[in-house]
Amino acid sequence: MDLLNEMQVGLAQALEFQAIFLMLAGTVLGMIVGATPGLSSGMAVAVLLPVTFGMTPLNGLIFLTSVYVSVTYGGSVTAILLNTPGAPENAATCLDGYPLTQQGRSAEAIGTAISSSVIGGTLSYIVMLVGIGAVAAVALDFGPSEIFLIAIAGVAILGAVGNGSPLKILASGAFGLLIGTIGIVPTGEWRATFNEPFLAEGVQVVPVLIGAFVVSELMEMAGRDYVVDAQVKGQQNLGNILHAFANPFRHLWTVLRSSGVGMVIGLIPAAGATLAAFASYSLTRRLSKDPDSFGKGNISGIVAAESANNACSGGALMTTLALGVPGSTTTAVLLGALTMHGLQAGPQLVYQQMPLVYGLIMAAIVSQIFMVAIAIGVGYGLSGALSVPTRILIPLLMLFSFLGAFALRNAVFDVDLMLLAGAFGYVMKRYGYSPSALVMGVILASIADNELIRMFQLFGNDWYQEFFTRPLSLCLLIVVVGGMTHRLWWRGRPSEFEIADE
């Protein structure tokens, strides 16, 4: 009954004029970013984060979540038309989407992608609506050892499943964690601050986020005339787009299974939608009666990839809100937004801020309706024609980033920090390191550090026994250590995910 009441309150908040306006604005912006190859959801949410300074926490989160969710929709359009995923999570959509475009069936592919995305996204938010309370209830029983390991898992899993050298990803994560420990310790000591007052509260996440995700990307773009140079072979046919809406229902088992896969992978800290899409695609191909047709324009491939990557957002958001550990890089930015509004994600948030949590989930469900309408418009109208000149995009986004970092504390120090993070993030990307792991580390460091100190204080010299005597801790320890060891041991062999990515 309580849950129903909260849903009702959440729905009422989601249907307020301001919330709907922000949903629409977020969806349109997200869709444009998604349809622009080279711009990721993390980048979009990071650059727009400062805009939410003056909003209520709920409205700010509704706006950013709408951007986050709609980027995946928009990204499928360019994946299908240009063979260039608008966002990394749409890479699996290229595999069958582009061959369909070459066959003159792009409208069918876009329609299928939109409707699969809606089903995957809606299902995942419904599961989130019903399940977040249960996850938070379980999380309330977590001791410091479990919370410590979940925080570490956020970085370690990125190394285990990430695309690239696990050593470099792990080094990036460890370095991020180390930077994140700068500031005042729970014991009252100033740690590695060099007596700089701006570092007393720790390294601020927002400038690091904007630097690593936006500035580094702008540096990458500099030197190119356009974000992407490609010829669109689109087929503008609204009838075919709408007609293809029925396709996921013809592959009902695929859409349900893929949504489940996406949701579960989304729940794993740091695993992300790209992995969800490829895992689901790979599973669907294996279970298919005609696996050879995949990669040549099989509709099931699009259904699997798009329902999984959209379902992932619900799972990732659930982990972020209920456990306080980001389920993906973009939700790490959302976690930064929560912190910026003075809220601490975790099981307590779900219980103490029920109107906010359920309002956000209801808004995510309601926004799916807008997304269909806007995605059809994007699919029909833009058709991946967003070849934005970089010399327009760079000054615009840079000014936004500049003031966004400054606005946090009205401090030039934060702008310097953003520029430093941007330059370092760029070099990291250039040489195969992971700026995402670095950011994840900066966000998670204080959680891990505080919990470890709590363990020292509670259990004295026997603190380490907590990892082995509590079943959940032991399981998490095995997952973290096992995942890393497995990846390091097998680093010479490319994973199926990497092969598919190629």
């Binding site: 003056g54 080094a171 180390l178 420990t181 740690r191 540096m219 000014l399 070099v427 250039r430």
Partner: protein, 169 residues
């Protein structure tokens, strides 16, 4: 051959940037944190061990890759790794200016004011990125600087210094 050696050295130097920054930053970190209590040092210490081990592993990988002899194609031209940086000086300058220019302009932030700094940055970066149309060079920086300034100053109440603009008002 000398060209090949230079490419190797360039790539090697590039590969060393991130590990070097990580190690130097860690050393700086400990120069300030070494005197802290065990509670405050335990987690960073564990992270430092992991980081140093990872960087050690990465350096071994870099050394191994250096030993692999370079292959040449039929025409005798040296092949370089596909990810080897191959920018022109102009591109490198453009990339650097994206972050160096705002860093320099920050020194004048309070003196000339926020709006003028933003306008100056937008104009210079636009010109550096190759925009030659006078109208765009004139209007776009004014539009973007004014737009973002109004959004942050008026809508979001961010305190941006007026600088030179305060003289006239």
């Amino acid at each position: 051959m000398p060209t090949g050696q230079r490419m190797d050295f360039g790539k090697l130097a590039g590969e060393m940037i991130v590990p070097a920054v990580m190690l130097i930053s860690t050393a700086l970190y400990w120069s300030d944190a070494a005197h802290l209590s065990f509670f405050a040092k335990a987690f960073p210490l564990a992270l430092t061990v992991v980081l140093v081990l990872c960087v050690g592993g990465i350096l071994i990988q870099i050394c191994r890759s250096c030993r692999v002899p370079e292959t040449t194609d039929g025409a005798g031209e040296t092949r370089t790794a596909p990810d080897a940086p191959g920018w022109s000086l102009k591109t490198a300058l453009q990339k650097a200016m994206v972050v160096v220019l705002p860093a320099v302009l920050l020194f004048f932030w309070d003196g000339i004011g926020g709006l003028l700094t933003l306008w100056l940055y937008a104009t210079v970066i636009l010109a550096l990125l190759g925009e030659r149309r006078r109208l765009v060079l004139l209007l776009l920086p004014i539009g973007t600087a004014l737009g973002t300034y109004l959004l942050f100053h008026i809508v979001l109440y961010v305190r941006i210094p007026d600088g030179l603009l305060s003289i006239g008002f």
